[in-house]
């Protein structure tokens, strides 16, 4: 029997963590993710969980402590946002290279500077090559579901990679929505127990972790990380299948919304997908064949699958809530376009950077994107200028 509740995204994350009952949580406060360790420490101090809560003095130490705890043989979790994630940057790479399946809540917020506490995806995009699995969540329900699935993916022997579950700061983290929770014992059974093969606290088999790894070996070790990321694709789908069996909720690499016969497609991630879907509905009423591809799994990037899903469209707009500042388009745009190219699919595609620093994105804005796509189609696929910004003054 599932439990019906009303929770904010941060509450949903904290409840998921409570049900997962990790051995160690190490975290440092930063808006808008602060509530997660805050709620969680009340579970710790009231004896509801078995977790040792390490209230570290920085995010760098939060990730370092998670690495130590996971390497020790325990399950470790954390939560952060924006500059907190930037501060972890160095150790994020170390976590993934040591093949430690740490699970993180990333409540997406603009990275300074100047300082801004509101939502965009510049934090997640800044660590997209750090070897972490990155799963994005449109709603509070998805935050919860993605967290419940996280350990089964990360800890799989074919994977052994850290994983971050992303949600939009304030938009999702602080908004209360209806949510369906699983019962504690169902979660416990689904998540299972963590049984690492080698770990520091096994006195019968002392091990050394984190060597000086020179020219003769580092490449092979990086190759293994790369293979693990490829392997994770299948595991993500297998875990989603298992999850569907107990919840009825279906998850894949991405969600296809009215995509089957869509001519004009918007590709986006996280909460914007809701606005995009509403826009598509509105345009469909006007006879415009609008569709949405909502990317859920950004790392690993499901390149072939996305290319295939987009293959029947006539024009595509890829929305990035982070500017790569590279004079060549956003990260999601680049990955999507390169996926199409390597699949030998040539469809006009444009990059939109939008919503920076929490700039609101409304149906009107997305409608304009579809309108632009329509123009491209009417103009024989002539793009004119692919590097666009949406909702910014002065252009």
């Amino acid at each position: 029997m599932s439990i019906r509740e009303r929770l904010s995204g941060n509450e949903a994350a904290a409840i998921a963590m409570k049900q997962i009952n990790p051995d160690v949580v190490a975290a440092f406060p930063i808006t808008p993710s602060t509530e997660i360790p805050q709620y969680f420490s009340s579970f710790v101090n009231n004896g509801v969980v078995d977790t040792e809560f390490v209230a570290v003095e920085s995010e760098h130490s939060a990730m370092s402590a998670c690495i130590g705890a996971e390497a020790a043989g325990s399950r470790a979790m954390t939560a952060t946002s924006a500059n907190g994630l930037s501060y972890m940057w160095e150790v994020l790479y170390i976590a993934s290279s040591l093949r430690l399946p740490i699970v993180m809540n990333l409540v997406n917020r603009a990275v300074s500077g100047p300082i801004n506490i509101h939502n965009d995806h510049s934090d997640a995009m800044g660590v997209r090559d750090s070897g972490w699995i990155q799963i994005f969540s449109e709603t509070n329900q998805e935050v919860y579901d993605n967290l419940i699935m996280a350990h089964q993916i990360a800890e799989n022997k074919k994977v052994l990679l850290p994983l971050m579950v992303c949600q939009d700061g304030f938009i999702t983290s602080h908004s209360i929505e209806n949510i369906e929770l699983l019962e504690d014992d169902v979660v416990k059974k689904f998540v299972g127990t963590y049984k690492p093969e080698h770990y520091l606290l096994n006195d019968k088999e002392p091990i050394s972790i984190g060597p000086l790894d020179l020219q003769g070996y580092l490449f092979e070790h990086k190759m293994q990380q790369s293979e693990a990321m490829f392997n994770s694709k299948q595991v993500i789908l297998e875990v989603a299948d298992k999850f569907e069996k107990i919840t009825g909720r279906k998850y894949g690499f991405f969600e296809e919304y009215r995509l089957n016969d869509a001519e004009l497609v918007v590709v986006c991630m996280n909460s914007t997908a809701g606005t995009a879907k509403a826009t598509a509905d509105k345009l469909r009423e006007q006879g415009i064949k609008a569709g949405v591809l909502k990317v859920r799994v950004f790392r690993p990037f499901p390149a072939e699958e996305i290319a295939k899903a987009l293959s029947n469209s006539k024009a595509i707009a890829i929305l990035d809530k982070a500017d790569s500042l590279n004079a060549a388009g956003g990260a999601l745009f680049e990955d999507t376009v390169s996926s199409l190219y390597t699949s030998n699919i040539h469809i006009p595609a444009i990059s939109y950077v939008y919503g920076i620093g929490g700039r609101d994105v409304k149906i009107d804005d997305i409608e304009k994107v579809y309108k632009d796509l329509n123009e491209i189609v009417n103009n024989n696929g002539n793009i004119n200028y692919p590097y666009r910004h949406l909702g910014v003054r002065g252009i």
Binding site: V56, S64, G68, L200, P206, I209, L212
Partner: protein, 318 residues
């Protein structure tokens, strides 16, 4: 049982094995070996190591010189990494996920760069949080692994590659940071400064006390570097001796805030004795630079006096 170095070395095999690639005449390996010998043979250890000479010389894939469990992650976070291991131990032990009858000890090693400087925040955090661990700083007074750059532990006037003894600026112009005192300011159960001297007795006993005192403990250990200091490799123990006999590196401990100086030289040697055998101080002996030696001596004297005062004040019973 009275301390006997032969018995200890004979009965307790080194937990840091030979074959590592530290330099001949380096102060760090004998320090690490002796500290680990202070662990009861039946206890398991998780060692955390900050990036530095010790780490890159003892664990080069696929070889490790450590017989206990060992983790290295980065330069500035040995303390926070180990705090995570210790938290996992506490949590798993309480949940019955680890054998009840087996004890694990947690020891971090970091150089002065990874401890006084880039790792100070991580160290302070871990100590303040009260993790049951020992942090050992092997202090060689500069960034030796990257090629002898100054750190906040570098003594005044030392010639390093970022404070070269030039014609305008004659070496490092700032006094070194007093890290042990900063640790005392954390109100730890046990803080000590030590060095290998007199058959390693002081080092061994302090290590044993730190390891078997519950809570966060800190050891600052002098660890001379033949390359950075410019002495003959066979003179390692002589350099240690001179550092102590001149009161450049006093041996003392602070137990719950109470200071105890463990060794007071009968006749304090002049600082020249310590400075002279080291190339990094060579320019101080050039004609016209007498003021540098005088100033150095003054600093050593005032720090020694301060320590004597602290011992007196904290032992006062009223």
């Amino acid at each position: 049982m009275a301390y006997n170095v032969k018995e200890i070395v004979g009965q307790k095999p080194s937990r840091l094995t030979s074959g590592h690639r530290m330099c001949a005449g380096c102060g760090a390996p004998p320090v690490a070996r002796m500290i680990l010998r202070a662990v009861k043979p039946e206890d398991h250890v998780v060692v955390a190591n900050a990036t530095g000479c010790m780490e890159v010389s003892t664990f080069i894939y696929p070889y490790t010189a450590w017989t206990d469990s060992f983790i290295h992650t980065a330069f500035e976070n040995a303390a926070s990494t180990l705090s995570g291991v210790e938290a996992a131990y506490k949590s798993m032990k309480a949940q019955g996920k680890l054998p009840k009858d087996k004890n694990t000890k947690f020891i971090a090693f970091g150089g002065d760069g990874g401890t006084y400087d880039i790792g100070l925040q991580s160290l302070s955090g871990a100590m303040e949080r009260g993790h049951d661990m020992v942090y050992v700083c092997y202090d060689n007074g500069a960034y030796m692994n990257t090629g002898i750059q100054r750190s906040s532990a570098t003594p005044k006037y030392a010639d390093t590659t970022t404070t070269p003894a030039g014609t305008k600026i004659p070496g490092k112009m700032q006094a070194r940071k007093d890290l042990a005192k900063i640790m005392v300011g954390h109100h730890l159960p046990y803080v000590a400064q030590t060095a290998p001297y007199l058959n390693f007795k002081d080092l061994y006993e302090k290590a044993e006390k730190a390891i078997y005192t519950e809570g966060p403990c800190f050891l600052n250990v002098l660890s001379p570097c033949p390359r950075g200091w410019g002495y003959n490799t066979e003179d390692l123990m002589l350099i240690n001796k001179l550092a102590i006999e001149t009161c450049y590196w006093p041996l003392y401990e602070v137990e719950n805030g109470v200071y105890k100086i463990n060794y007071k030289p009968a006749k304090k040697l002049p600082i020249e004795e310590f400075l002279k055998p080291q190339k990094r101080f060579k320019h101080m002996f050039n004609p016209g630079n007498e003021w540098m030696i005088e100033d150095f001596q003054k600093e050593v004297d005032s720090r020694w006096q301060e320590l004597l005062n602290l011992e007196e004040i904290t032992n006062k019973k009223d």
